[in-house]
C-alpha cells in the first residue's frame, strides 16, 4: 500500500475517530469541540496529501475492503478526476474545520456532541463518495452524505424556518437519489455489473441501446442536477444553506454541490460517446441556472441566502463549461473539449475556495451581530477589520476580477464558448455560442453588482441597527481559518499554469487530449484557430507597480495638504443611518429591469391627514413572486396529496376487506407465475 492509499485510509479513520470521540466526550463540550474539529483538521490534511499524491504522482489509488453484501465489494478508487475534487474538498475542509473551532462555541449545550459527530461523518461521506469505485458503494455513501448533511442543516431546529428547510432538503435529495439509482439500475440491467470500470469498458464497445442511453442520461442529469442545484431543482438550496451553521454551509456550497458535478462527470463516460443534444441540454441548463441564480440572488436581502443563490449561479457556470466540453467532444474536437473541461474544473476549485471564504465571513458577521439581514447591518469595516478585508478578497474573486482566481476560470470558460462558436460546423451553434458567452459576461457583471451590494451594505457606511453598532471582531481561530482561502484566491489567480498542470491528468483521461498550453505564470488558449493569452502575474505587476507609485505620490502630497474629516453631505441634514441606501434599494434598478422574470409585487400603504402629498404613514413591502414554488412545486405537492387521499379509500378498515385483498393478490400472483 503506497503513501497515497495510506493517507486516504488515515483520513477516513480520523474522521470516524472524530465522530466517535465527539460522542464519547459529550459531557465536556470544550474538549468535545477540540477533539471533533481537531480530528477533522487532521483528516482534511491527510486527504490533501492523498489528493496531491495522486495528482502529482500519476498513479490512481485503490482500496478494497471486502464484501458484506451481494451487490459488490466496498471498493474505493481515486483516479485523477476524483483526486482533483478531493483537493477542493481537502482545502475547504481545512478552512471550515479550523473555523469551526471558534465558531461553534455559541452552540455549546446539551446536544453539542451531535454537531461534532455529524460534521465528521459528513466529511467522511464526502471523502468516500469521491473515491467510490462501484455503484453500490457510491449509493451507500451518497445516502450517508445526504443524511449527515440533513442532521447538520436541522441542528438549529429551534430557530424559525429551519425544520422546513430540512424537510424540503431531505425530500429533494431523495428525489435526486432516486433518479441516480434509476440511472445506475438501467446500466446494471444493460451490462450486468455495478462496477464503474466495467461500464466504461462496455461503453467503449458500443453495446448500449439508444433508449437506455437517453433515459440514463436524463435520469443522471435530473438526479445529479437536483443535488447540484440546477434550476428548477434548486428550491432546497436557498432554504438549506442559510439554515445550516456557517462552516457547514461553506462545505455544502463549496464541496457538496461539486460532488454532484463529479458524479455527473464520472457517470457520463459510462454512456459511451456523447450525443450532440446532450451537450446542448447541459449548456441550456447551465445558462438558465446561471442567469436565474444571480437574478434571484440580487433581490435577496439575507446575506446567506444571497450567497446560496450565488452558488446556484456558479453551478450554472460550471455546467456551461461542462456542456461546452460535451458538445465539443461530440463534434470530435478533443483539444477544444479539453479546454472547456479544464475551465469547468478550474471553476470547481475556485468556487470551493472563494465561496467557502464568503460563507465563513458571513458566519462571522452573523455571529457578531445576530442578524443576517443586510438592511440591518453596516459599518462593520471599522468594527471587524480583518473579517471585512478577507470578505472583500472573496467578493473580488467571485466577481471574476483580476488578479484573483475567479478571473482565470471565467476567462477560460469564455474562451471555450468562443472556441465552440468558432469550430462548430453548424450555423446555429456558431451564433448561439458567442451569445452564450455574452450571457456569461452578463451573469459575471450581475454577480459583481451583487457583491458590491453585499460588501457595501454589510461593511461600509453607518450601522443600520444597534446590533451592528456593537459588533466585535471574531475569534482567533475563525480569523486564522479565513486567511487560508484568501491566500489561495490570490495564489490560484496568479499561477494558473500550476493549477492547469494539476488538472491535466483528469482532463486527459476524460477527453483524451491535454488542455491548454500553459507555463507557470500564464494561461493560453490555443485551440485550432482560436488563440488568446493572459498572464495574471503580469497584470498584477501592472496594477501593483503604478499602485505603489500612486500611493507614494499621495503620501507626499498629504504632508503639505493633509486630509480633513467632515460630515457626509445630506442636503444640510445631519446624516443618519436611515438616509443610507439599503440593500433592497440598491437592487431596485435591477428589479425593475428584469421585472418580467422576477415579477416583483410591491405593496404601498400610505395614510395622510391633510393632503395625499404629505403622507404621515408609509408602509412599503415588495416581494418577488416565488415562481418555482408557486407554479411547479405547489401544484405537484397538491397533486400528490390529492392522489394519496384518493388512495386512502382502499383502507376502509374492515378486516374482511383486507382478507379479500390478500386473496385477490394471491390469485393474481398465481395467475402471473403460471
Amino acid at each position: 500500500m503506497d503513501s497515497g492509499e495510506s493517507a486516504y485510509l488515515v483520513s477516513a479513520v480520523l474522521f470516524a475517530a472524530g465522530a466517535l470521540g465527539s460522542l464519547a466526550l459529550r459531557r465536556r463540550v470544550a474538549v468535545c469541540n477540540g477533539a471533533a474539529h481537531g480530528a477533522a483538521l487532521l483528516g482534511a490534511a491527510a486527504a490533501l496529501v492523498a489528493a496531491l499524491r495522486v495528482l502529482l504522482g500519476g498513479e490512481a489509488l485503490s482500496v478494497t475492503l471486502g464484501q458484506t453484501f451481494p451487490f459488490g465489494p466496498w471498493a474505493f478508487r481515486v483516479d485523477a478526476l476524483g483526486a482533483f475534487f478531493l483537493l477542493a474538498f481537502a482545502l475547504s475542509a481545512l478552512a471550515a474545520s479550523g473555523y469551526a473551532l471558534g465558531y461553534v462555541r455559541e452552540f455549546y449545550g446539551r446536544d453539542f456532541f451531535a454537531l461534532g459527530a455529524a460534521y465528521n461523518l459528513f466529511l467522511l461521506s464526502l471523502l468516500l463518495v469521491l473515491g467510490a469505485g462501484n455503484a453500490f458503494t457510491f449509493l451507500v455513501v451518497w445516502e450517508l452524505m445526504a443524511l449527515t448533511s440533513f442532521l447538520l442543516v436541522v441542528f438549529r431546529h429551534r430557530e424559525a424556518g429551519v425544520t422546513r428547510a430540512g424537510f424540503v432538503y431531505i425530500v429533494m435529495t431523495h428525489a435526486g437519489t432516486a433518479c441516480i439509482t434509476g440511472a445506475f439500475l438501467l446500466l446494471f440491467r444493460a451490462t450486468g455489473s455495478l462496477d464503474f470500470s466495467a461500464w466504461a469498458a462496455a461503453a467503449a464497445g458500443g453495446t448500449l441501446p439508444a433508449g437506455v442511453r437517453t433515459a440514463a442520461f436524463l435520469l443522471a442529469l435530473a438526479g445529479f442536477g437536483a443535488k447540484a442545484g440546477v434550476i428548477p431543482l434548486h428550491v432546497w438550496l436557498p432554504l438549506a444553506h442559510p439554515a445550516a451553521p456557517s462552516h457547514v454551509s461553506a462545505l455544502m456550497s463549496g464541496v457538496m454541490l461539486k460532488v454532484a458535478v463529479y458524479g455527473l462527470l464520472r457517470f457520463l463516460p459510462a454512456l459511451g460517446p456523447a450525443e450532440p443534444w446532450w451537450g446542448a441540454a447541459v449548456l441550456a441548463a447551465g445558462a438558465v441556472t446561471a442567469l436565474l441564480g444571480i437574478l434571484y440572488a440580487l433581490v435577496d436581502v439575507d446575506l446567506k441566502r444571497f450567497l446560496a443563490f450565488s452558488s446556484v449561479e456558479n453551478v450554472g457556470v460550471i455546467l456551461l463549461g461542462l456542456g461546452a466540453a460535451l458538445s465539443l467532444q461530440g463534434l470530435g474536437l478533443p483539444t477544444a473539449a479539453a479546454l472547456a473541461l479544464a475551465a469547468s474544473l478550474y471553476h470547481v476549485l475556485n468556487h470551493a475556495v472563494f465561496k467557502g471564504l464568503l460563507f465563513l465571513g458571513a458566519g462571522a458577521v452573523i455571529g457578531a451581530t445576530h442578524t443576517g439581514n443586510m438592511d440591518r447591518l453596516g459599518g462593520l469595516a471599522r468594527r471587524m477589520p480583518v473579517t471585512s478585508f478577507l470578505f472583500l478578497v472573496g467578493a473580488l474573486s467571485i466577481s471574476a476580477l483580476p488578479p484573483f482566481n475567479g478571473f482565470v476560470s471565467e476567462w477560460l470558460t469564455l474562451q471555450s464558448l468562443l472556441a465552440l462558436g468558432l469550430l462548430a460546423p453548424s450555423a446555429v451553434l456558431e451564433i448561439l455560442a458567442p451569445v452564450g458567452a455574452a450571457a456569461l459576461a452578463l451573469t459575471g457583471a450581475l454577480a459583481a453588482a451583487g457583491f458590491v451590494r453585499a460588501y457595501g451594505m454589510t461593511f461600509l457606511a453607518l450601522p443600520r441597527s444597534e446590533a451592528a453598532a456593537h459588533a466585535a471582531e471574531t475569534s482567533r481561530p475563525q480569523r486564522a481559518a479565513m486567511v487560508l482561502p484568501a491566500v489561495l484566491c490570490l495564489a490560484l489567480g496568479l499561477a494558473p499554469g500550476w493549477v492547469l498542470r494539476l488538472l491535466t491528468p483528469a482532463v486527459a483521461a476524460w477527453t483524451g487530449a491535454a488542455p491548454v498550453a500553459a507555463s507557470g505564470w500564464g494561461a493560453a488558449a490555443s485551440v485550432g484557430a482560436l488563440a488568446g493569452r493572459i498572464t495574471p502575474g503580469l497584470l498584477f505587476a501592472l496594477l501593483a507597480v503604478p499602485g505603489i507609485a500612486a500611493l507614494f505620490l499621495l503620501r507626499a502630497a498629504a504632508r503639505q495638504r493633509p486630509e480633513r474629516l467632515g460630515p457626509t453631505w445630506g442636503c444640510g441634514i445631519a446624516p443618519t443611518p436611515r438616509m443610507e441606501y439599503s440593500a433592497s434599494a440598491f437592487s431596485q434598478p435591477l428589479r425593475m429591469i428584469f421585472r418580467q422574470i422576477l415579477r416583483p409585487r410591491p405593496e404601498l400603504e400610505a395614510r395622510h391627514e391633510v393632503s395625499p402629498y404629505f403622507a404621515c404613514y408609509l408602509r412599503y413591502r415588495t416581494e418577488i413572486t416565488p415562481v418555482f414554488e408557486r407554479y411547479l412545486y405547489g401544484p405537484a405537492a397538491r397533486l400528490l396529496v390529492e392522489a394519496s387521499q384518493r388512495l386512502r379509500g382502499i383502507q376502509a378498515g374492515g378486516i374482511r376487506l383486507y382478507l379479500a385483498y390478500i386473496l385477490a393478490t394471491l390469485v393474481f400472483l398465481l395467475v402471473v407465475a403460471l
Binding site: 466577481s399 452578463l442 457583471a445 457595501g456 500564464g522 488563440a531 495638504r561
Partner: protein, 317 residues
Amino acid sequence: MTLSQLLPAMGLQAALVLALAPLLQGLIKKIKARLQNRQGPPLGQPYADLVKLWRKAPVFSEHASWVSRVAPPLGLVAVLAAATLIPTVFAGLPLAPAGDVLAVTMLFALARFFTALGGLDAGSAFGGMGSSREMALSALVEPAMLLSVFTVALATGSTDLNAMVAAGAAEDPAAFLSPSHLLALAGLFIALIAETGRIPVDNPDTHLELTMIHEGMILETSGRYLALAQLTHMVKQVALFALLANVFLPWGIAAGWSAGALAVGAAAFLAKLAVLALAVAATETVQTKMRLFRVPDLVGASFALSLLALVSGRVLR
C-alpha cells in the same frame, strides 16, 4: 521581450494615454460648445482643473473607511493597466501576453467595483443611487460591448488585441464596408456612449442627482482624490476610443518600430480620436438624456446590432 524593453514600452504607452486623456476631454467639450453656439472652455482646461484639484486638501466623510482612500488610486491604476493593453500608435504591443480584450473588460470592471464601493462608503443617498445605477447599467452594457468585439474576434480567430488589429490592418479596406463590420461598429459605438457616461445615458456635465450616475459615486470625493477620479474617467474614455478606433478602423497603425511608421501611426491615432470626439460630441448635442429605465432599451439595441453583425457575417461568408 526582455525586461529592459518591457518597462520603457509600458511607460511610454501609459505616458501617452495619460497625456492625451485630458486633451480628448477638452476637445469633446470644445466641439460640443461650438455646436451649441458657445465659445466653450479652452482645450487645455481639463489639465488646469486636474492641477487645481491636486493642490487642494481632501475632505473625507467621518464615516468613510479605508475604501474611500484606496478606491480613486486603484481605479486609476486599473484603467491605466487596461489602456496599456490596447494598441494605440503601435500594433505589436509588448505587453500582449498579459491580457486580451477580456482582460481589458475585467480591468474596467475592477475600477468600477471600487468606485461603486467608494460611492457607498460615505453613507449618503446620492452615492448609493450612483453606485446602484452604475452597477445595474454596466451589467447590461458589458455583454453588448463584448458581443460586438466577439464578432471581430471570431473573424480573426483570436481575442488578442494585437492580433485583431494586425489582421484588420492587413485586410482590404473594402472589407470595412461589409454589413457585419458596420453593424458591429454601430453596436460598439452605442456601448461606448454608455460606458463613458455620456448623453443619452448619463450627463457628465451636471451634478443634479436625477441625472448623475458616475458623478453620484464620486460626489463625496474631493481634492487630490477627485483629481484621480476624474483622470480615471478621462483615461477610460481614451482607452475605449482607442479600442473602437483600432479594432474597427485600424488603418495607419504602425506595424514596425521605424520613425516614419510611428509618425504615421501617431497622426492616424490622433485623427481617429478627433473623428470619434466629433461623433460623440454631435451625439451629445443632438440627443437628450434618456430616462433611466429607457437605457436598457438602448443597450438592447446595441446588443441586437451586434447580434445582426454576427448573423450577417456568417450568412454572407
